[in-house]
Symmetry: C2
Subunit: 311 residues, 2 copies
């Protein structure tokens, strides 16, 4: 496809132990790419999908998060005679727990906006990206979309009112990502959760979210480590990852600040404050997975602060 525009949209971790549906953080150097151009027929045409798990993603624009996001964009602006054609390159396959769907949705709306001369602000693109991501997760939530679009570590206070808040990124924070070769369907992982939580668990979980915010704002790694606990979701999803608690133990032995499942998994993340811990932890986690006959890939990233970027 000649003379198109290109965007990169970062992948992101979400939940981050204590912030189910409320916390997300975008990852530097780990991003999807979308290339696109205007076309003289209405709607969206997805020409090719390349990269990881390309066969898992539909090229039907109505079944594709990038496609739906742009369709919503075109509807919103009442653009009826023109459309967008796309080429999508996936860095990781969907269902990795790294906000792959959100990346497609964010990339798509930023691209479309650029192709039509920037009629909307990023703030206005945000709900359109959320509508796009709905196709994949069957839920309206912004914990991946917010960091992917805007960058940084984001607290989603309220999706409906688009109340999202960028948190301070602690100095030297590194994120180790371990991506096991396992398939988890986001919407299934969501359905498996008990609809209710014990009041006491709610108190512990929400107090940890409060102190997580405080730890970031104050650059307090000790408090950050204490806050990175999940009393509600992790116990219900741990069995999806063979050797999960052993993996965590290996990460903590390597010296990480915190460790958990990203999104609904199977990706795992660990926070640490120096490169050698981040790398060592990744290898240690990978070794445990291998012992359990699961292959995996390790990546080390920083928090990306730019979000979805047009090139």
């Amino acid at each position: 496809m000649a003379s198109g525009l290109k965007v990169t949209a970062p992948l992101s971790i979400s939940n981050i132990n204590c912030g189910f549906d409320a916390l997300g953080a975008s990852l530097s150097l780990i991003s999807d790419q979308i290339i696109g151009r205007r076309m003289n027929s209405p709607g969206v045409k997805i020409n090719t999908i390349t990269g990881e798990g390309k066969h898992l993603v539909s090229t039907d624009p109505y079944q594709n998060t990038a496609g739906v996001a742009i369709l919503r964009f075109l509807e919103f602006l009442n653009i009826r005679t023109e459309g967008v054609e796309l080429e999508i390159h996936k860095k990781v396959k969907c269902g990795s727990g790294l906000g792959s769907s959100a990346a497609s949705a964010c990339g798509a709306v930023v691209l479309a906006n650029a192709l039509f001369g920037h009629p909307l602000q990023n703030r206005e693109l945000f709900p359109l990206a959320i509508l796009g991501e709905y196709v994949a997760s069957q839920a309206f939530h912004a914990d991946n979309v917010a960091p992917c679009l805007f960058g940084g570590i984001m607290l989603v206070r309220d999706t409906r009112s688009l109340s999202i808040h960028r948190l301070h990124i602690p100095d030297n924070l590194l994120i180790t990502i371990v991506l096991p070769e396992l398939q988890i369907i986001t919407s299934e992982a969501r359905k498996m959760l008990k609809p209710d939580v014990h009041l006491k668990q709610m108190v512990r979980q929400s107090a940890n979210l409060g102190s997580f915010v405080l730890a970031l704002e104050r650059n307090d790694y000790e408090l950050l480590s204490a806050s990175l606990q999940d009393h509600v979701i992790e116990p219900q999803r741990a069995h999806l990852i063979p050797g999960f608690y052993e993996i965590k133990e290996a990460a903590f032995k390597a010296g990480v600040t915190g460790c958990g499942i990203s999104g609904s998994g199977p990706s795992l993340f660990a926070f640490s404050r120096n490169t050698s811990i981040a790398e060592e932890a990744g290898l240690a986690m990978q070794r445990v997975l291998k012992k359990h006959k699961v292959e995996s890939r390790v990546m080390v990233a920083r928090i990306d602060s730019e979000g979805t970027v047009l090139h």
Copy 2:
């Protein structure tokens, strides 16, 4: 009682909408007083209780939070031949939702510690005060004890590990307290709560606690106002206070930043950032209560930053 020592222990609001069992804030100029001296017989003797609701508080040291707190103090230090005699002056009656029991417990341990030559740090007195307060609330929680003992707005991350964190106090913050003439028993108000919470409610509640912390740290009144919501506890306790939602409406009409039930009630609190709003809101709330045939008292305080103080 001659030649005794005197402490003042501030009353405190707790829960603060989004922080059930996790948030508390101590109030300036609203405090209990305890006077005491060492005696040559073991244990605790409560000579007199004066002030509001004095008949509601037992002078049996084993049934009194101040008494139990000092008994625990004496046990902890293995003091067997001497004891403490007390005179307690209550500013508000117990069961007001203003941490009256915590004030007695904190005042008692600080007093005892002074009487015996300061063998313990305040940090070490903290668990003893929590044990004392247990008598009143039948639960080990620190959301009133922490601000009462140390002052300020406190986030209790974890009671068992005594993980408490002092939050930034926003500039010019005023707290209106409206104390209706109603009796609510803390332990009963606790029992009435459903043991479970919907997962979605947990997400909203914890995200609000996260953004509450962020709002304080950043002095952001707009975010503070948005965060001061209670999706879990308030709906279950609102019926205990006649005209509750009308009272809230009156407070918001007067311009407050937030408004809710303090602790398990019946006290109500409102946050605002100037004296005229704080006073006007108090009167407006009082008027609604009066319409519902409930008399009340209004106080306006700032956040106290000293905690329990020896004179």
